[in-house]
Amino acid sequence: MALYETRRRRNALAKSMAVAATIFGLTWLVLILAVLLWEGFSGLSLAVFTQMTPPPGSAGGLLNPIAGSLVMTTIAVAIGTPLGILAGTYMAEYGRYDKLAFVVRFINDILLSAPSIVIGLFIYEVMVAQMGHFSGWAGAVSLAVIVVPVVVRTTEDMLILVPDTLREAAASIGLPRSLMIRKVAYRAARAGMVTGVLLAVARISGETAPLLFTALNNQFWSLDLNAPVASLPVVIFQFALSPYKDWQQLAWTGALIITLAVLALSIIARSLASARKSS
């Protein structure tokens, strides 16, 4: 009987550990979001979206970093998405079992979780050091380097899910392979591929490390991509570490804006993906 007692007690202990661990994990989510909402909303006003970043000690907004982030994100997606979709297409449609696709898959998975600060250093060496100055282009390209592996991954996964019977049907009516991919496979996998792009946008909209020494920062209104451009994450970084109360408040508000944007994007992406699954 003693053995049964020990086993029962050990089981009860493990079960309560599992419950405790789950509560522990969820507590952090609640704590972080609660503080973020509390601190962020108290500074949220129209001025945040209409005024420039202020000098220390005066009121202002976040218009120029928001605009800079939007522009750089758009360019990054415009560069990274086609590249990622094409590469993913090769791996799923042409080289599903060949060596190149195998190597690319492996390398792509490593790029997917490579430290983003290293990507910043890479673009610094390739673009900033060559051009001689920090620029919005360099920032956008470093974000694009982060977009590519995300899009490659989801494109490949989604294309592989497309039933081969669809491809065979297309081939049997004489459709050339490239048209089959574009007109049939892409269409069948569209929702999933859009999800991938949305996830990539969510990923880069909070990225700070690769922008620190590519796009740098800019205190003023500037969308000149050949000059330093402000971005929301970098401004948060700078303002949060400053001793000025106004700046710290703006950092919280910026953090709230980014988090809400990221959460909205991932919820849209998720509902797109599940809508496809249920249909």
């Binding site: 029962r8 599992a18 090769y90 042409y94 430290p115 060496e125 490390a209």
Partner: protein, 332 residues
């Protein structure tokens, strides 16, 4: 374009045939072009990785040439005299990641066990989504929260307690020596633990769910408890996948920049105390790169980046190999 190829029918004139040949030719060229385009894009992915390695090596070369192997063993980091050594940031990177993994791995595995074995069905989805939301929060949010909320909390409530409790214990005392700064190696490690927890949880949950129900039911049928099923059936079956997931989380922790930079204190020294400020590779680069004057300083920072990339590359490659082995087995 395609429709043209289908028109023509039986009464085909010479001209129609010529048209048809032309369209076919065009399609054939388009086909080849598209194939090569996608192939080129796939190769670009390889070039990106190659470019990262080559540019980092070139950028790091002046420092590596000047300091040689001493770069890896020296603790000095002095921009004024231009003497640089990587040991302090490498040490900080490894210690913060170790703290993070020590906490996140057991907690993550227990959450995964809860989600797959214990959780009522209606709760599974919401908790799963919440964990994934935690994974989606940008790292700078963890950083700002760590700086303004978590570090002061630790400084006032947790660290004095640690110092009082362990400060006078012979060996442990060294880990908790010094005043409670709030920011420091321990704080950074804890923030990292919160950050990698969702990654480890979601991968473990996925591999736990892949265990064939028959195996678990057989064990339950023999009278095993939930804990025994998890420990002696699920965990051994999924070992490879769990190790892969843990390594993936470790890769994240090693390379994480923003969450750490806010709370580590950026002090270039190796201190046995976990409460002391320290630095990591990524925090050093983030803090100092734009202010680095002189080629040697910049080059030393790039060399740090190269070290970080090599470490994470090995860890991530190992993780992928593990996960690939798992997939191969599941597929077989």
């Amino acid at each position: 374009m395609v429709d043209v190829a289908f028109e023509g029918g039986s009464a085909m004139t010479v001209r129609d045939q010529a048209d048809r040949a032309q369209v076919l030719q065009r399609l054939r060229i388009g086909d080849i072009a598209f194939r090569h385009l996608t192939r080129a894009a796939a190769i670009v992915v390889l070039l990106i990785l190659g470019g990262i390695i080559v540019s980092l090596v070139i950028g790091a070369w002046p420092a590596l040439e000047k300091f040689g192997f001493r770069f890896l063993t020296s603790e000095v980091w002095n921009p004024v005299t231009e003497k640089f050594g990587a040991i302090a940031p490498v040490y900080g990177t490894l210690v913060t990641s170790l703290i993070a993994m020590l906490i996140a791995v057991p907690v993550g595995l227990f959450i995964a066990m809860f989600l797959t074995e214990l959780c009522p069905l209606w709760l599974r989805r919401p908790i799963g989504i919440a964990i994934e939301l935690l994974a989606g929060i940008p790292s700078i949010i963890y950083g700002i929260w760590g700086l303004f909320v978590f570090a002061p909390f630790l400084q006032q409530h947790v660290q004095p307690f640690l110092i009082d409790t362990f400060g006078n214990v012979p060996v442990l005392g060294n880990l908790f020596a010094g005043p409670p700064y709030g920011i420091g190696v321990l704080t950074a490690g804890l923030i990292l633990a919160i950050m990698v927890l969702p990654f480890i949880t979601s991968i473990s949950r996925d591999v736990f769910e892949a265990v064939p129900p028959v195996l678990k039911e057989a064990a339950y049928g023999l009278g095993s408890t939930t804990w025994e099923v998890s420990r002696y059936v699920v965990l051994p079956y999924t070992r490879v996948g769990v190790i892969g997931g843990v390594m993936l989380g470790l890769g994240r922790a090693l390379g994480e920049t923003m969450a750490v930079t806010f709370v580590i204190g950026n002090a270039h020294r190796v201190s046995p105390s976990l409460l002391a400020p320290g630095t990591t590779i990524s925090a050093t680069i983030a803090n100092e790169f734009t202010e680095a004057v002189g080629d040697l300083y910049t080059s030393s920072l790039v060399a740090l980046g190269l070290i970080l990339f090599v470490i994470t590359f090995i860890v991530l490659a190992f993780a992928r190999l593990m996960l690939m082995r798992l997939n191969a087995r599941v597929g077989a």
